[in-house]
Each structure stands twice: as structure tokens, then as C-alpha cells.
């Protein structure tokens, strides 16, 4: 009996203690009645949710209608910096998050041992539980002043971290066999940590010294004196770092699922035909899971566009049209959060904010729907190919 129930357990036993109920004997009439009630309730709840979403859309459209009568260039002038700010924040977050999240997904889905993966994946997904307001708070009050004082170190770290991982790879190939066996590739995530920490410490130690030698002052002052580039404390770089951190878990999780669910025979077939793991990754896994990775990035973009508290607290909220990563921005969602409580109802500001909300609603709705449709098609493709 105990063995039978164990067999039903999900493989990630330590984290998900899911036990499937064995099929019951002959269904009684009471049971069918219960089933019907449950089905009815669930259907009603589903329809209710759909109606609520529809009602939100209708409300937003209705509230923006008065704008149509006096929509002028001033409204457009007010909205376009917000649209640009939203886009800029999302792009910054994606640029920082996507390489990290996809790299992590590829490594944990295709290279890591299952035992390690079963520990790593849920812990990475736990990152998603950190509330946006906490991330925004830390970014605005701790990270932003630190980065302003250590701009050169921050930029050097951003460049150096990927390079140092590559350097570790080269060194590993040159290392003697015994060392290579001790530091296996499957557990590279573990022995890379001290390496990265050590090189990061080196950069943090060296950057201020080099900065003083070459520029004669810190980088922010140098940029201002030499090129007239403004540096705002809470800028796009900070927003990108904070929001990138926030969207890494969801991008990672979805991309990892897409890669891990690739039918095993495909990868094994490729390797049986003589492809290296690296070749199998580029020629088989990535093209196969491409749509899944695309939808993961889309979900990340949707979250970045809709995210409010991080942008509100980590950016300067100045409605600018600049492309500089060192200047602030103001996004739709932050503008709504700050201004709507104080905007008198039926004023121009109020209707403009509602229009911003409508744009936001439509965008996230479309992006999420697109991502979900792509994911469903991918799942069917895997099923045709005999996967899970």
C-alpha cells in the first residue's frame, strides 16, 4: 500500500508532497450529484472571472470616452513620455533579466543533475514571492545611492560577471584531468560561486583605484564635466536592475519548463548520432523550445510593463523622453498610482490616467494571451513527438 502511494508521488517529493487519489470503485448517485454541483460552481466562477475582466475593459473604455471630444495635442504630449518611460523600463529590465534567466534555464534543464535541479528550481521560483514593494524599497533607498557613489564599479561588475564566467570555462578546459573530475560540469553552479565572488571582489577593489588614476574623479562627475551627461540618482539603470531581478524567476521558470519538457528521445537521438551536448542544445533543443522561450520572455515583458511599485520607488518619476540610461523615467503604472488618488474626478488628468490604464490593460492582456497561445501550441507539438 505504502509503495503504491509512493509511486503516485510527484518526482519533486521534498517540495511538492502531492499524492494522487486512486480511482474509486463504483460511483454512487450522491457522488454524481456532488460532481455536478462542483462542475456548476466551477463553471460559474470561470464565467464570473471572464465577466469581471470584460467589465473592467468596458469601464475603462467608458471613462475615456469624454476624452474623444477634446483630445488635443496637449494630451498626446502628456502621454507620450509615459509610454516611452514604460517601454524604456521594460526594455532595461529585459536586457538585464533575459540573458541571466535563459542561461539559468538552459543549464538547469539540460546540464544539471536531476537531484540538484530539484533543489535549485524551487528556490529560484521562491524569488518570485518577494513583494515588488520590498524590491522597490531596497532599490530606491539602498541600491540607488550606492550605485551613484560607485558607478564605475557597478558598470565594471555588469560587464565583468559574464566575462568571468567565460574565463572560468576556458580555464576549466586547460585544467588537468584530475581537477576537471573533481569540479564536474554538472555541479558547475556550485564551484562557480566562489570564483564569481572572488573576481567580483577584485573588481570592486580595483575599479575605484583605476577610476581615480584614469579619470581623476569618480565616473559620474567625469561624465558630467566631460560630456555634460546628467546622472539622476534613481535612474533607468536602477529600475532595470530591480525589475530585472523581479522578472528573472518567471522567465526562468517558464523557459526551463519548455526546455525540460523536450521529448527525451529527440535529445538522445541527436547525441546518439554523434552530436555533442552543445550541438544538441543549439541544433535541437533551442529550435524545439523556441516558442516556449518566446512566451517566457513575453510573460516577463508583460510583468515588466505592468509592474508598479518597483518603477514608482526606483525611478525619479520625471516624465522625460531621453534615451540615457542614467536619467529617470515615469511609467504609466507609476503615474496612475501617484496621481489618480489626488486627481479630481471628471478632470482632464483623471480621464488621461484612465486612458493610460486602458492602454496598460490592453497591452498586458494581449501579451499574456499571445504567450499562452504559443505555449499551448508548443505543448501539442511535444505531445505529437511523444514527450510528456
Amino acid at each position: 500500500m505504502a509503495d503504491a502511494s509512493l509511486a503516485y508521488r510527484y518526482p519533486l517529493a521534498p517540495f511538492y508532497d502531492v499524492v494522487m487519489t486512486p480511482p474509486s470503485p463504483a460511483p454512487s448517485s450522491l457522488r454524481t450529484l456532488k460532481d455536478r454541483i462542483a462542475t456548476g460552481l466551477i463553471t460559474a466562477a470561470g464565467i464570473g472571472v471572464l465577466l469581471a475582466i470584460l467589465a473592467i475593459g468596458v469601464f475603462l473604455v467608458w471613462e475615456t470616452l469624454p476624452l474623444l471630444t477634446h483630445f488635443d495635442t496637449l494630451s498626446l504630449e502628456k502621454l507620450s513620455p509615459l509610454a516611452w518611460g514604460t517601454l524604456k523600463a521594460a526594455i532595461a529590465a529585459l536586457v538585464l533579466a533575459v540573458p541571466v534567466a535563459l542561461g539559468a534555464a538552459i543549464f538547469s534543464a539540460l546540464f544539471m543533475t536531476d537531484r540538484l535541479r530539484a533543489r535549485i528550481k524551487p528556490s529560484l521560483e521562491l524569488m518570485e514571492a518577494v513583494p515588488g514593494v520590498v524590491i522597490g524599497f531596497v532599490a530606491g533607498l539602498v541600491l540607488a545611492p550606492w550605485v551613484e557613489r560607485h558607478l564605475a564599479s557597478t558598470l565594471a561588475l555588469l560587464l565583468w560577471l559574464p566575462l568571468s564566467a567565460g574565463l572560468a570555462g576556458i580555464l576549466w578546459h586547460l585544467a588537468p584531468k584530475a581537477l576537471r573530475r573533481a569540479l564536474s560540469l554538472e555541479s558547475a553552479g556550485l564551484w562557480l560561486l566562489p570564483w564569481i565572488a572572488a573576481t567580483a571582489a577584485l573588481v570592486l577593489w580595483a575599479a575605484p583605484i583605476l577610476e581615480q588614476q584614469w579619470l581623476g574623479s569618480d565616473l559620474a562627475t567625469f561624465l558630467d564635466r566631460r560630456f555634460g551627461i546628467d546622472y539622476t540618482t534613481r535612474n533607468t539603470l536602477i529600475v532595470g536592475l530591480a525589475m530585472g531581478f523581479a522578472i528573472i524567476p518567471s522567465v526562468y521558470s517558464l523557459a526551463e519548463d519548455a526546455l525540460y519538457d523536450i521529448p527525451k528521445p529527440l535529445m538522445e537521438g541527436a547525441q546518439a548520432l554523434g552530436a555533442s551536448r552543445w550541438q544538441a542544445l543549439w541544433k535541437v533543443a533551442l529550435p524545439m523550445a523556441g516558442p516556449g522561450i518566446f512566451s517566457a520572455v513575453m510573460i516577463g515583458a508583460g510583468r515588466a510593463v505592468g509592474e508598479t511599485m518597483i518603477v514608482l520607488m526606483a525611478s525619479s518619476n520625471a516624465a522625460l523622453m531621453s534615451a540615457s540610461p542614467f536619467e529617470g523615467l515615469r511609467s504609466f503604472s507609476a503615474a496612475i498610482a501617484i496621481e489618480l488618488p489626488e486627481a479630481p474626478p471628471d478632470s482632464q488628468t483623471y480621464h488621461l490616467l484612465i486612458l493610460a490604464a486602458l492602454v496598460l490593460f490592453l497591452f498586458t492582456f494581449l501579451v499574456n494571451t499571445l504567450a499562452e497561445v504559443v505555449r499551448q501550441r508548443l505543448r501539442r507539438r511535444y505531445q505529437r513527438l511523444g514527450g510528456a
Binding site: 562627475t221 540618482t233 514608482l312 525619479s316 523622453m321 536619467e327 488618488p341 489626488e342 479630481p344 488628468t349
Partner: protein, 312 residues
Amino acid sequence: MKSPRSRPARIVAALLMGGLLWLATPAVWAAPITGTLGATGSDTMASLVLRWGEALAARHPGITMQLQAGGSSIAAAALVAGTTRLAPMSRPLSRAERERFEHRYGYPPRELRVARDALVVVVHRHNPLRAITRQTLDALFSSTLACGGEAPIRRWDDLPPPLDWPFGHVALHGRNQASGTFDLFRQRALCGGRFRADISEYPGSSAVIAAVGSAPNAMGYSGYHHLTPMVRALALINAEGEAIDPTPETIQSGEYPLARNLYLYVNAAPGTPLPPAERAFIELILSDEGQQIVRAAGFVPLADEALEVSQN
């Protein structure tokens, strides 16, 4: 010496004495005032109104105060819609709001000045700048130069007279666009012009102060009662060339150019007496105790003449 039996007797005696004393206070002889006071109002004044509410509850334990702080514009809308009878506001009602109120009720709302407040221009505490003219302020904060400045000022060394403060450009901080503070600063300091686009905006005055206090190249504007030792408030140079510091005296007299009144609007028909709870609240605000609370909350009490006007 101490017999245990006497202790309950002592307690009873003490209670009796206390009860007699309590009966002797005039508040008990008058009929007790009870009721719930609802107010919707400015978030600048939220802490002040709550402190008044506490003092009121101490005077009349039967009264409970409920405050919804959403901003002055929300307060005006709620007053017109009739969802509140008391609206503490950090700016006077606009003409349109006043007309809407009169159109709906047939009489004007009763306006009481309850305290004085001011906007202050702040810089980092180590900044050597002491005073600033309105033209310079406008040249720093606006894109329109409506006060007659010649060119926008972007850097600390461009200030007239040049300031020895080697931190490059002036980082500007201010309030969000829907706040009364934003609007007042625009009217009084920018001569009604428009703000530059690259001013960092914060949803609260304390956040502005914190941002300015942590960056040596920063300048910002905020409410007087949020001042902390992290920042220094600049004196404003008026048309006669005198530098006027924001002190309680200059704010009370109106000599400081960015001083303003704080108001309480009451929806009360003329000729009919106010409900007792509202009457008690207004009496408290205009009493010495109420004005002491104003000072304790970081605002400035009304001058005696203004207090008399409000009392009548």
C-alpha cells in the same frame, strides 16, 4: 501596621473621591456630547487633524473622529457631493468648486482658517547656498521663465552669484503633479509657468526631504512641517532685496513669500446651529490648546487677528 482588610476600603474611598472630583468638572454637568465626526481632507493636514481628533476625544469621550485623507481635490469633491460635512484643505476652494457647492445647496460653504503653513526650498545640509531670489528659483525649476529670468540655470556654478559647490548639475526634486504643494509652488514660485520635465517627483513631502538630504547636488521644495536636520531651508529674497528665512514669525505674518493658510470647510446652512460635535471640534481648533497642537504638529499657529476672524 498594615492590615490587609483596610486595603479594599481605601480603594473604595479613593474611587469615591475620584468620582466626586469628576462630578465637579463642568464637562459632566453639561449634557455629554456624543457622535461620530467624519472628515475627508488633505493629506498634508492628516497628522494635524488626527491630533485634534485625539484632543477632542480627551475632552469629550463620546466623540469619535474618522478621517479619510485623500488630498485637497478629493476633499472638495466630497464636500460638494455631500459625503462629508467637514473638509480640511491645504488650499482655498477654487471658484468652480465653490460655484458647484452653491448650486447644489443654495448657500456658500463656511470657510475657517485653522493654521499657517509654508513651502520651503531645501538643499543638502552642507550646501553653502543661503538665500535665493524668485527669478533664480524660476530659472532653476521652470521651462517657461515666467518670472523674468534670462536663461535656464542647470549647474551650481551658473547661479548668480556663482556658488563654490563642485557637484555639477542641480538635481531637482519635487512633489507629484496632482498635489496642492505642486500647484502652489507653480503659482507662487514659477509665476504660473510650467515645470521642467526632468524634476524627480515623489508622492510625499518626506520623500522629497529624504532625497535632498542624501544627495549633495540636490535642491527640492516641500512642506515646512517636514523639515529635518538632513536638509537646510533657503531664505527667499523678496523684491526689496531682503532675505527672509522661513521662521514661525515670518510665516505667521505672511512676510515669507511661500506661506499659505490651511482651511477647514464646513457644510453648514447660515442661521442654523452646528451639530454639537462639530461645534466642539471647531471650538477646540480655535482654542489655545488647538493652536498648541498646530505648533506640535510642525505647522504655524494663526496670528491673533486671524484667530479672531475665524472665531467669529
